[in-house]
């Protein structure tokens, strides 16, 4: 195996000058003064790793952790402050598509211009030109100045060039969201084809599923330093551990803030018309322990405490609890009608809702709870609207995830005779589609 990319003890410092001397006037004025306030920012610190030929390396991490800096260093857009970056082979960066396209020129001219920008010869571009055009599906428009292209057409052409120039190394930075579903699938297939040809790929993605399914090895980078490196599943696992720890802490503090708001009677995401007031909403695990991160298939319990006024204390009341996804779409709503739960002397009560085998898939969710009068349920006595959060991480990360979306549905794959397919056959069938 040969190394094609090698980073040796690489650090990259960015200097952020708050009062930047952009003109001669400023320089003269500030000649004897200290040069504004300079802030140093280490985007990458003493990072070393290498990529072998034919390997697909995934890089994960939070925004601003240094992922893109690595790609920029490999593609030589920026130079390291210290350390050494060695790259053997031609690189096609899919960092920003269509950089260098000129609006006045036709698609044809731009293909050649873009190719030469990536350092490929005219003869080579002539050889692959038809392929590029066919891939972009822009046969009819190839001689039209690209200022008349739609943005989708523009991106398709750009992607077609970048991926068809047949580079030794492909750098991908979250650009797979090009065009419609069909085109995306085509791009994806092309990348898979790339891997089969033994090309080297470095992929930066927030989609852990993509990293796990496409990469041979992964790196988790955090604050400019490698936190974990090696087997994808291990790295993703380590990364998720941190993500969920942070998520849990955040959910807890949000929960506390929500509680405080309730105590202060703040109407932010809550309205009270009197009668019955929700005292607290707790999200608990199967053992009734406070919990904010669940796995698909766990049991989840929501416990509501409420207080009733004198005049309603004897009437039946209703409860509702809804779960919304991160976009605010209601995924599920559970109602509980006509309950006579209030205990007369204390005017307080508790109601618990248990979700058995929580069928939600990975993501973060919010929870709303409300108490309603049973008769003419126009407006609730009290409601907590999307005030409580929890998140779900996918089932065990070493099981290949075969479901995506919001909910997990019971399903099975059958062949033509109606015999159930084993997991591997199902995968093969899906890939063949």
């Amino acid at each position: 195996m040969t190394e094609v990319i090698r980073l040796e003890d690489v650090s990259k410092r960015f200097v952020i000058v708050h009062e930047k001397n952009r003109s001669f006037q400023d320089v003269v004025v500030n000649l004897f003064k200290s040069n504004g306030s300079r802030e140093e920012f280490w985007a990458l610190k003493n990072t070393s790793f290498s990529v072998q030929r034919g390997e697909t390396l995934g890089i994960i991490g939070y925004n601003g952790s240094g992922k893109s800096t690595i790609l920029k260093l490999i593609s030589r857009i920026i130079e390291p402050t210290s350390g050494k970056v060695t790259v053997n082979g031609s690189v096609s960066p899919l960092l920003e598509l269509g950089a260098g396209f000129h609006p006045e020129l036709s698609g044809r001219d731009n293909v050649f211009l873009n190719g030469s920008l990536l350092g490929f010869s005219r003869r080579k571009m002539e050889r692959i030109f038809d392929e590029v055009v066919a891939f972009s599906e822009l046969e009819q428009f190839i001689d039209v100045p690209i200022k008349h292209y739609s943005s989708g057409m523009y991106m398709r052409l750009a992607f077609a060039v970048a991926i068809n120039v047949d580079p030794d190394i492909l750098l991908i930075d979250e650009v797979l969201a090009v065009g419609d579903e069909a085109f995306q699938e085509k791009c994806f297939q092309k990348i898979v084809g790339f891997q089969k040809l033994g090309k080297t790929i470095v992929l930066v993605s927030h989609s852990l599923g993509k990293i796990e399914s496409m990469c041979d090895r992964a790196i988790w980078i955090d604050h400019g330093q490698i936190r974990s490196m090696g087997d994808c599943q291990k790295v993703v696992h380590d990364y998720l551990g941190q993500v969920y720890a942070i998520e849990d802490a955040r959910a807890k503090s949000e929960h506390q803030t929500a509680e405080q708001k309730v105590d202060a009677g703040e109407p932010a995401s809550r309205w009270v018309t009197g009668g019955v007031r929700i005292g607290s909403v707790e999200i608990l695990g199967a053992e009734r322990e406070g919990k904010h991160v669940f796995q698909t298939g766990d049991n989840m319990v929501v416990r509501l405490r409420y207080v009733a006024d004198d005049e309603v204390a004897t009437l039946p009341i209703s409860f509702s609890v809804s779960i919304c996804d991160h976009l605010g779409n209601v995924i599920h709503r559970a109602l509980c009608l006509h309950q006579q739960l209030v205990q007369a002397p204390s005017r307080q009560g508790v109601v618990q809702l248990e979700y058995v085998d929580l069928p939600l898939l990975e993501g973060s969710y919010s929870l709303s709870a409300a108490v309603w009068p049973t008769d003419a349920a126009n407006s609730p006595f009290d409601a907590h609207s999307e005030m409580h959060r929890f998140s779900v991480r996918g089932a065990d990360s070493n099981v290949r995830r075969m479901e995506s979306g919001v909910v997990s549905l019971q399903h099975r794959w059958l062949d033509g005779e109606g015999t159930e397919l084993g997991p591997d056959e199902a995968i093969a069938l899906k890939a063949a589609e």
Binding site: Q25, I77, G100, G119, S121
Partner: protein, 260 residues
């Protein structure tokens, strides 16, 4: 240094494409297109001729229109290279931040596309020379050498101003004034030999464009070969300007990816 050169060779296609792009874009949207680039120096020539021979009688210079044109064309190449060179890095920030390629290609392609312009304009110059009864002389063979040396000089300048403009955006404004001053301090519409001898000497030392224009005139109008010593000195100056400009450019270019 050697790796840099082999890399530049690898990217020769890009130089070619950028030059073609420059020319195409320049001539595509305007009605008269390519004719403009020829018309511009001719109009300039006409104005100067009217001012200096009709309105202000000037008998000392023969064939004044071609005398002017032999200077206007290389001067325009110089001015356009600098004006275009200044913005060549800043104006292509989106490119520089997204793709790696040898950055010197950008200012270089500006100089080269203006050189193509100049070469095309030379056709008009030759037509004018013939119209004014100047014969094509064997010494015209010096022309490619002169053009080559001027190219080296202009590359050096373009490298310098394009890199300087990244850290000091005022370069653009200052150069505007500078070019105008330079135009008057260059013997375009007058003969350098008409100056007081000490100024003539000073101008040759300080202003390489004066040397170029005098040599162009010597070759084209008088059919004489330039003095070898003079030509070598001009070459040396150009190489120094090139080396300094390029060195400055390379030093600064490391920061282009983040400064822009």
């Amino acid at each position: 240094m050697l790796t840099r050169l082999t890399e530049l060779f690898k990217y020769r296609e890009l130089v070619r494409n950028l030059v073609i792009r420059d020319l195409k874009v320049r001539y595509k949207s305007s009605f008269l297109g390519f004719v403009w680039s020829l018309l511009n120096p001719l109009l300039m020539m006409l104005v100067f001729t009217v001012v200096f021979t009709v309105m202000m009688p000037n008998k000392s210079i023969e064939k004044f229109p071609v005398f002017l044109l032999t200077a206007i064309l290389p001067w325009n190449w110089c001015a356009a290279s600098i004006n275009g060179g200044i913005g060549s890095i800043v104006g292509n920030a989106n490119l520089i931040k997204k793709v790696y390629f040898p950055r010197e290609i950008l200012p270089a392609s500006v100089v080269l596309s203006n050189m193509v312009n100049y070469l095309l304009a030379l056709i008009v110059l030759f037509a004018m020379l013939l119209a004014f009864g100047v014969e094509i002389q064997p010494m015209f063979a010096f022309l490619p050498i002169l053009i080559f040396i001027q190219m080296i000089f202009l590359l050096g300048l373009a490298f310098f101003v394009s890199a300087l403009n990244v850290s000091f955006r005022d370069t653009e404004v200052i150069t505007e004034v500078g070019i105008m001053a330079w135009f008057f301090l260059t013997p375009v519409f007058y003969d350098i030999h008409d100056l007081f001898p000490q100024y003539e000497r000073l101008m040759y030392i300080l202003n390489p464009m004066a040397s170029f224009i005098s040599t162009y005139r010597l070759v084209l109008l008088q059919g004489a070969g330039p003095e070898p010593y003079f030509l070598l000195r001009t070459l040396a100056t150009s190489l120094i300007v090139f080396a300094l400009g390029y060195a400055f450019f390379i030093r600064q270019s490391r920061l282009f990816g983040e400064e822009l």
